[in-house]
Amino acid sequence: MKVLVIEDEEDLRGIVKASLIKEEYTVETASDYGAALEKVSLYDYDCILLDIMLPGGNGLQILDQLKSEGKSDNVIIISAKDSLDDKLKGLELGADDYLTKPFHIAELNARIKAVLRRKQRDGKNTLTMGNVVLDLNERCLFIAQELVPLNRKEFDMLNYFLLNKNRLVSKSALAEHVWGDHTDQADNLDFIYSQIKNLRKKFLASHADVDFEAVYGIGYKLVEK
């Protein structure tokens, strides 16, 4: 999988690149408008992360170029501006998603996976890890071919962890993704612990060969045992 990161901030570009390499993608980067335009016109990418404010031009113009070539559907806009106008314009130009800075690495991973999965179109829409299979169309979980009932929030949580296999998912990233942007107080994310405990109980009961690994004070990783 080939991913292009168009971002002018060197530090941010570096971290995103490092994180994507962990996911075993081939990563290329562009730091300004000219370089970005050159790369998108020369090569095809499976996913493009596009910053709107770039030195030398506006990212939306690159999106316009991509749209004229029919290649804008795998673009995720990354912008520091949470501006509705930009968002609407971007989605109108065919961008797949719009992510506002600052974002969590886990959230970026999840969004990229969603774009890539839509591109594959092999009919199968499942996430698998060990003997755990999550069917996204039917919204149900199979562990060792056995159906395990999940409530809506548990499904969303597991989905998020499976999009971030072996990666750290911080409690606030998880809360924002699953419970929406309503978790203002950092000291009140303890409820996530009880949610993880419930899921873990189901894993144990069904002899799943995956488990949550706590990262002190920050969050959890879903790993194979």
Partner: protein, 427 residues
């Protein structure tokens, strides 16, 4: 009162005063002219009569006003010398064609004296006069007719003038009412040749232009501030997250990273809240639509279910009626979410959150470990009842800003051992 009616009021009062004054003066002047005329006529008659009488050798006294309209009687020399020409208004019985019997009519009488062959005579000559009451009556009727005519013409002229001349102004006013800064593309304009209207249009256009510039600058500043702060924050958080993934971390190091990460995320929330607050105050959200607050509250309660369960807080909702509101859906969500979050996070274990919805009012009450808060401070920015709280202290300030934007009335009360926030959305 509309301009047309106001103009009419002043014009008719002044016309009434002017006409009343004018008709009094006109009446007096007329009377004067009539008297002068009659007096000249009497003077002339006197001359003719005396000339005529002088041709006779003797003057026979004529003691009644007959067909001659004069009478003569002899007087002594002393009396004659005292007598000058005297004009006076008096009344005499007269009978016109249309009078059934003689009536008293006003006449003008000249009394004078003359000498003929050593004898002195007194001569009185009369001339019929205009009736003052008739004059006044006729004048009064004409004045009333004149006044009515004038008022009618003022009304019709006014109507035409207002419709023709003031039409650009009314259309301009209408455009101004509908004008929204940063939303309406076309500036209010009027097609007019009237200098005052042109000046008004120029003044308004300048004002709008200036406001638009300020609005644009502010918007840009918010965008820039957001960009400048969000990118460093993104770098900070993502670097910490990547670092925390490292396998070689010791427990203490991991905990330190967690603390820094939490602090960075507090900063992110603070920045987001401040941006939101300035966006609300700059009215950058006004995609208003009709919303059902009931549906919104029920959805939001599902979102908070897990948090409430974890803290063993019971959430109750009493829907007395449907509450419909016309506002931006993102802002409506923020209002409900901030109130519910506030009620949950400042609650105690095993407490409750009570939500009430009527056709006008949304009430969110919660039990708490704290007693009454300062109602004057509770909506202030960065006010925290509990300094250990890691909240931004902006949640309720944002709710209040949104309420101000839409003219909702929000109040805080402490009753029945519960903190209660009440928003009247149709006051």
């Amino acid at each position: 009162m509309r301009l047309a009616n106001q103009t009419l009021k002043y014009l008719s009062i002044s016309v009434l005063v002017v006409i009343a004054l004018w008709s009094t003066v006109f009446y007096l002047f007329m009377l004067e002219v009539i008297h002068d005329n009659i007096d000249e006529e009497l003077e002339n008659q006197k001359r003719l009569i005396i000339q005529e009488l002088s041709t006779h050798p003797t003057v026979a006294p004529d003691l009644e006003f007959g067909i001659n309209n004069y009478k003569v009687r002899e007087i002594s020399e002393q009396q004659a010398l005292k007598l000058r020409n005297v004009y006076k208004d008096t009344m005499l019985y007269m009978q016109d064609d249309d009078d059934p019997e003689p009536e008293l009519e006003p006449v003008r009488m000249l009394t004078t004296a003359f000498e003929h062959q050593g004898h002195y005579y007194e001569l009185a000559i009369i001339n019929s006069m205009i009736e003052e009451s008739d004059l006044i009556k006729n004048l009064f009727y004409s004045v009333v007719i004149l006044f009515v005519l004038l008022v009618v013409s003022i009304v019709s002229i006014n109507k035409i003038v207002i419709e023709r001349l003031w039409r650009p102004l009314y259309s301009f006013l209408d455009q101004l009412t509908r004008f929204r800064l940063g939303k309406t593309q076309e500036k209010p304009a009027m097609d007019t040749k009237i200098q005052e209207f042109k000046d008004l249009q120029l003044a308004v256009t300048t004002l709008i232009h200036h406001n638009e510039e300020t609005y644009e600058q502010q918007k840009q500043f918010i965008g820039n501030a957001s960009h400048e702060l969000q990118t460093p924050l993104a770098i900070m958080i993502n670097k910490l997250e990547m670092m925390a993934e490292s396998e070689e971390l010791k427990k203490e190091q991991s905990e330190t990273i967690a603390e820094v990460l939490n602090t960075a995320e507090r900063l992110v929330r603070l920045n987001k809240s401040l941006l939101l607050l300035s966006k609300i105050e700059n009215k950058q959200f006004l995609q208003n639509e009709d919303l059902s607050l009931n549906a919104l509250v029920l959805n939001m309660m599902v979102e908070f279910e897990d948090i409430a369960d974890f803290k063993q807080i019971k959430m109750n909702v009493v829907q007395k009626d449907q509450l419909h509101v016309h506002m931006d859906s993102a802002l409506a969500n923020i209002v409900v979410s901030n109130l519910l979050r506030n009620a949950l996070f400042h609650n105690r274990e095993g407490g409750e959150v009570n939500i009430g919805i009527t056709d006008k009012i949304l009430t969110v009450s919660n039990t708490s470990a704290h007693t009454a808060l300062d109602a004057g401070l509770v909506f202030s920015r960065f006010y925290k009842s509990d300094t250990a709280s890691k909240g931004t202290g902006l949640g309720l300030a944002i709710v209040q800003a949104i309420c101000h934007l839409y003219g909702f009335v929000i109040i805080y009360r402490y009753e029945n051992n519960q903190h209660s926030f009440q928003i009247n959305m149709h006051s």
